[in-house]
Amino acid sequence: MCLGIPGEVIEILPDQPDLAKVDVSGVKRAINIGLLTDDPPVPGDWVLIHVGFALSKIDEQEAKAAMDFLIGIGQAYEDEIAALLESRIDERQ
């Protein structure tokens, strides 16, 4: 839960501009980017995701390091990715 997951921004959802589609090691999910309004991310940017919200922008190198840290954690990483897979915050219903 406290672990930050790195993801690459693929697109900003046109009808919901506070949401972005990100790619987290091949898994595509919507996350909220409302905490980055001072410096909004654009497609191609990497962000660190906490509980469905992008908390900071990072560079690609840091993204790889963060992912490596997560994978090293083992079970907790798998749980976190599995939880992210269940998450569907972009669906209104």
Binding site: M1, C2, L3, G4, N32, G34, L35, L36, T37, D38, L48, H50, V51, G52, F53, L55, S56, I58, D59, Q61, E62, K64, A65, A66, D68, F69, G72, I73, G74, Q75, A76, D79, E80, A83, L84, E86, S87, R88, I89, E91, R92, Q93
Partner: protein, 379 residues
Amino acid sequence: MRFVDEYRDAEKARALAAKIAALCEPGRHYKFMEVCGGHTHTIYKHGLEDYLPESISLVHGPGCPVCVIPMGRVDDAIALAEQPDVIMTSFGDMMRVPGGRGSFFDSSAAGTDIRMVYSPLDALKIARQNPDKHVVFMAIGFETTAPSTAMTVLRAQAEGIKNFSIFCNHVTIIPAIKAILDSPDLRLDGFLGPGHVSTVIGCRPYEFIAAAYGKPLVTAGFEPLDILQSVYMLLQQLAEGRCEVENQYSRVVPWDGNTVALRAVAEVMELRPYFEWRGLGFISHSALQVREKYAAYDAERQFTLPGVRVADPKACQCGEVLKGVLKPWECKVFGTACTPETPIGTCMVSSEGACAAYYNFGRFSRQRVQEVSIESSRA
């Protein structure tokens, strides 16, 4: 993955270790606290203490949000789940945390509706889908997760959702560090500052640690080399007679934090007069509650809670572990009665808890540490 190896490079680690050893004053012992559970994890996983001279010890701090939730709050959350037509939602990490009457898992086995969610926004979605139920989100975490909870409340309000509230258990890191500095149990020489919490609060709030307590703090990244580099920076400060807040993790942590996130939290939440931390007791102004203005989204105002304080189990020494006074394996029930499958204390539940990290990764270095402590007790 080439750049990752760069951070991991054992050669570099050894070179840094040599520089660290050269900075240590002969005869002096150094004790640095890593505040964040993520750091504890890296330290045990990579056996970083083996790279450091014996005169340096790293002790873990209270930076594991699941670990510090007291039993009574778990019981209150279960009492909420037992209300008619309530769906309780929680991060997966919370599910096995023992309360006085069992855990969320036990409660859901007994028939309550407790669901795991990845994000508070998922809890809000469950509220949208179940207009005839009331959905409570068990909000836990330090400043890293509080902004997400605040944003979710603002979202619920914007959408006019009425069947959603949060059970707010957010805690703040600075008062916990202060409580440790004020505690007579531990003499520390400096701190490794938390990584992700600092992306939100920045580095400024730590300045009192240097100014009022005379201890250096270096905000550190999570790679093994980040941690060694940060230890080196702490020693450098001590050797040069400096005492400052420095940012080793500046590639992620801005000095001023995330002001949008801080504003969202300040809009929705305010400091509680006091809050109980598991093992640490009551600490004033150390947690957040929902502001009056958002009372409609505050489970504590919407429901009557038992609010009973429950003492930790006698065998549990999590408080000592959270303060860095005991190493996990020094707890009498570590690895025997208390394991990740059957946790007695919270530090064994979350992957960020010191006991769980040590249980999973620390066994190799344990040998060495035991030998060292036997030697030093002989000496």
